[in-house]
């Protein structure tokens, strides 16, 4: 069973790496979807079927599709890909690469320093998650709905096609 975890982990990391390197936007999105699916498998292995389903349905299914729609609206074309090649010179990766590496090293160091006990394991049923959500975390649920409402309104307003003469902006 552990092999599933490690294989999925490898796929997730590889496809994520491809996302950040890829020049074509839609290709990158597809890689991202693969990464998300791999993470969903990991969730299943960790005994979290509910969030695994959520990951696939919402993250990979809705959010990424939203990205694809946006790409379609933007209608970038081949010129964008060419431009990406120009923008992504190898020397651009040096500084950020070092920083990210240091960050990763710190995190790894912290994790290995501490002695971790064995995980409790076990599957956490969706029922339990629901009970927790509408039990102690019900306030968070309400707030989440408010956040979504705000995002809806914001996206509607920001996405409006304003007449070209207006200078001040939304």
């Amino acid at each position: 069973m552990n092999a599933v975890f490690y294989v999925s982990a490898l796929i997730a990391v590889a496809s994520t790496a491809m996302v950040i390197i890829e020049r074509n936007a839609v290709h990158a999105l597809l890689y991202l979807i693969v990464s998300l699916l791999a993470v969903a498998v990991i969730f299943f292995g960790l005994g979290a079927p509910f969030v695994a389903a959520l990951e696939v349905l919402i993250y990979a299914g809705a959010i990424m599709v939203l990205f694809v729609f946006a790409m379609m609206l933007l209608n970038l074309g081949r010129a964008a890909t060419e431009q990406e090649r120009q923008w992504l010179k190898p020397r651009m990766w040096r500084g950020p690469g070092i920083l990210a590496f240091i960050l990763l090293a710190e995190v790894v160091y912290v994790l290995t320093c501490v002695g971790w006990p064995a995980p409790a394991g076990g599957v956490v049923e969706p029922r339990q998650v629901g009970a927790a959500l509408f039990g102690p975390y019900v306030l968070g649920v309400e707030l989440a709905s408010l956040v979504l409402l705000a995002a809806l309104l914001g996206a509607y307003h920001l996405g409006r096609r304003t007449p070209p003469s207006e200078g001040g902006g939304p």
Partner: protein, 628 residues
Amino acid sequence: MLELLWLVPALPFAGFLVLALFGRRLSRMGVAAVGAGSVGLSAIAAVLVDTSFLASPPAGNAWTQVLWQWVGAAGFGPQIELYLDPVSVVMSLVVSVVGFLILFYSAQFMAGDEGYNRFFCYMDLFVGSMLTLVLAGDLLLLYLGWEGVGLCSYLLIGFWYVDPANGRAARKAFIVTRIGDAAMAAGLLLLFTNLGTSEIQALMQRASQQWGAGSGFAVAAAALLLGGALGKSAQLPLQTWLPDAMAGPTPVSALIHAATMVTAGVYLIARAHVLFALAPPVQMAVAVIGAVTLLYAGFAALAQSDIKRVLAYSTISQIGYMFLALGVGAWSAAIFHLMTHAFFKSLLFLGAGVVILGLNREHNMFKMGGLRKELPGTFLTFLIAAASLSALPLVTAGFYSKDAILSSAWTSGAGSRWLWAAGLAGALLTSVYSFRMVFLTFFGELRQKPRLKPGICMVVPLATLSVLCIVGGSVQVPETLGNVRVFSDFLNVVLPPAAAHETAGTEAALQVVAGVASVLGVLVAYYLFLHRPQHVERWTATLAGARLHRLWLAGWGFDWAYDRLFVRPLVWAARANKADFIDSFSRAMAQLNVAAHAALRRTQTGHVRWYAMVIVMGGVIAIWILVL
């Protein structure tokens, strides 16, 4: 009656306030009435208080009136207290009466000047401060009066401020006396911190108990107080301001720079005589300074052509006599001379004022002459005053006071003969220069006719003062001539008497010598300046003569020396430090701020990726600090 004491300084202050606030609405007469009247009322109050004091002296020959607690800090509690003893009786009478007479005179003298109200305002403030000074029972209150008179001196010397030269003279006076004032403040602090009180009588008592004769503290405190006295009384080396102070109106010169403010130093030393007696080297210094100054000023007065400058140097010289008396321990003689000097010097100034005003502000004696027919009353009073200054024997008050000083100088301790000789030479010089002044101004040919004669406001003070010049000496007549000891007996209850004096024979001989010297001076002056003036002219034409004349005219070059020694280096230093290097520290901080801001500004590139990188950097560093 003694309870009215507080009115004596309060009335002039009230006059000052009224004139300062409402003076503009009053007429000329009203201003003069308030200005001179307040001092007049103060003089009446002083007379009432002092006669009551004389009639029934209070216990211990001193009376204190505490008005209120000035400062109430722990261990430091000076009070506004007025102290009346024989010395302050004499001083308050002199200041208020002479002050009133001079203000009465200025009602006419300053008529026609547009600063009329301002003049009386400042004069009232001055008289109030001076009375505070002489009546103060607390050293801090005395210092308050001290500073007040210094301020008024500045305001009044620079009264005609439109001419910048007057402003310079005023500033010079203030700055030079400030040097003395700083010494005095240091002395005051020394006394207070070591003896724990600022009340004068308590100070003197504790000083004599705690400090032995010649102790370092006593010498230091006395020397510092002497510094203050030197500044205010224009003695060497702080005398350079007084001749230039003649730029003020003549009544100012009469009141401040002849009768009252410049005698404040003498008063201070007399008040603190216990302290000076505890510091013999300082007391000797007082005598020596007095002797040297009186000779110095005598020679300088001989060469002046401005009538007021002659009188200024004469003042310096006469105060030198007072310092000489203080230095040899003849305290009451010094106060006696202070009183007679107030009479004749202010009279001289007032008479000179009449001449100056009449000749359209002409100060140069060589442009005057032959005025005795034109201004007979002025001439008579001027002559009486000059005679008193020269100490002409027997008839003038000056004779008795100067004689008291000279005989005390003869009988004093070390170096007494030299001091006496200096005093005698000074007497001769005094006679010469004062009658030179009389002859040049009132005798000879009439060069300019005076355009006005003195009115009643001027005549009354002139007459009163001349009477005082003659009879004022009768309160203290030596043994050989009548032995009236009213004055010294009065003062000797609080001031120690002078050392034992010689036999009657020696005293008489001394008096004869002094009298001869003053008469000789008159004759010399007559010969050199009236009868055969060409001798002097020929002598000043020679090289040596011209040099000496120039030296004396410039006050022995003190101004030149001070300019080279102090003024120029200071001005150079101030210019060199124009970009204030101390300021550069605070400027550097500001500039550092600006530079840091400019540097930080460059991190705001507006690029999102750069900001993201900075966030990650921050996160890395934060985790680093937390973890490692």
